[in-house]
Assembly symmetry: C2
Homo-oligomer: 325 residues x 2
Amino acid sequence: MATIRDVAKLAGVSVATVSRVLNNNGNVHKSTKEVVQAAITTLNYRPNEIARTLYKKNSRLLGLIIPDITNPFFTELARAIEDTAHRYGYTMVLCNTDEILEKEQHYMEVLKQRQADGCLMITNEKATFLDEELGIPIVALDRPIHSHIPFIQADHYQGGKIAAQTLLQKGSTQLVHIRGPKYLDSAEARYQGFLDVVEKEKISYHIFESSFQPRNDEFLINNIFERFPEIDGVFAANDVIAVSVLKTALHRGISVPEDLQIIGYDGILFGQLFYPSITTVAQPIYQLGKQAVQMLINLIEKKETEQKICRLPVQLVERDTTRKE
Amino acid sequence: MATIRDVAKLAGVSVATVSRVLNNNGNVHKSTKEVVQAAITTLNYRPNEIARTLYKKNSRLLGLIIPDITNPFFTELARAIEDTAHRYGYTMVLCNTDEILEKEQHYMEVLKQRQADGCLMITNEKATFLDEELGIPIVALDRPIHSHIPFIQADHYQGGKIAAQTLLQKGSTQLVHIRGPKYLDSAEARYQGFLDVVEKEKISYHIFESSFQPRNDEFLINNIFERFPEIDGVFAANDVIAVSVLKTALHRGISVPEDLQIIGYDGILFGQLFYPSITTVAQPIYQLGKQAVQMLINLIEKKETEQKICRLPVQLVERDTTRKE
DNA sequence: CGGTTTCATGTAACCGGTTACATAGAAATG
DNA sequence: CATTTCTATGTAACCGGTTACATGAAACCG
């Protein structure tokens, strides 16, 4: 690979001049600029990003610290993040943590050693990642870390309300909410939204807690149908659980949506492939990822964010696990 | 951030000695080593990976150039790749190309400028990426690039045979294969496998070509059922298409697997969530990703691979879209 | 005991960019 | 025309590691 000194030699100028041409700063005479550009073309020269980073201390590298790319919600988020990062000239490093603290910490080290400019995090480890000790800008995505770390998520409380209202409005009277883990604020918010609606309407309901591990849920769901055969509306805390509920219901000969309505949450692409397709409260996943990156880049380049917290609206997507009208 | 010179100063030694301690090479007296290590701990020093890379010219960075992380097959592959890369001390950069040549080329530039040690590619652009011009080791995954670029994929020909044999063996007599795009060798191989079985058995069959774009497939699938209501076995070139077939069939009141058997391909995790769950020819996705990384690292570190081509066996996963027995 | 190894350590060049500072000539100013 | 200002360019230090080479001391050896 040609270096800047090769270019300088061929163009008959100093490396400083070549650098000025490359970065289009400082004064360079028009004719000199042309000679340098010709040399660059001849040698097919590309500046070494590593050398630049060493001096300038910005790498245009972004970390994405995420529990598991295999979870469809995160997959779609990652796609949005990569797209956006790329559009702004940043490169994305993917870090799967499986929610294991050691992995998260290890990846933070790796990102720091590689001089990453910033990091998007989806983590439950609130206490561990306060930005004092980090030395690298962070934006928290979907799960808050600390009040002084910028944070973006969908309006889960509203989402919980919408789900409950929709089930009621479409005629369900015996509701079940399979909520997400207690330690997840977002699950808690959906639950609260759901609760506030059903309490007000004085409707019969049951709450169950899922671990968000599909494997464990199968048993839980069967158990629910066993114990409460009379239920006619389920709000599942995410689409994957909704799908499991659908599968179990169909397997038991329950008609969906005639005898049982199901509403999922997230709005993953997959939801529409099922028969019947899953009605869901959709998060603006692409938008979340995109804005998270924009917030982070803002933080990196301007050293500040306009707003610390950003909450995006959710939207009901009516498909076929709820009744028409 | 502390530098190696800070550590040297605190420990009262030269930077060379600190470097020797860090890399555990050269001779360092036991007592000196302890003093240096104490200084490292005190300053919480972590070597700057960028500076290391600049001199050593290996970055321990791997690129994954992939059409779209949102495609579940690629998602699972990416997960395996990230896991494995991480286990070997490499960091993974994610690059979504949407199969657009300009994006692929652009990402290759980015990876080169960042001194990535190697790159895993899933691309159709055979002609463009010959490793002469690349200057960076490549392993082709799932889709071959060129005979001199190491390549790993599942045994798709065998997969096509297994799918056809299974449908026949379980009693289907009017087969349809919805194959993948012509420009994909892997789709071609599955098709050939299917063909070789049905031709030999003199079975009635029809072939249709899908673009692998779920949106377009809906029309195609409806059309198939319309024109050929008598079909009783479908081999779909991937699980997403199989799922669409299932949905369409159920929608039309066709019983699966009683009246119609469906076999998918890939073995994505999602397949088991459907009702009925999808019988599929599973690729060893995790293994593919893992071995691809191992081949690539081998290429990087040893400058060679034992074998240029690696073909992994597929496996029938019998679920509920095929009949028992 | 002198000569050769081996060990422990330091000095400084190097990787490939960027930029502060210096300088010479041209242009502007009074 | 002398002085100031501006333009174009070069020199060399710097970023933070690694390592070739040099050096002095200790260990070994016949």
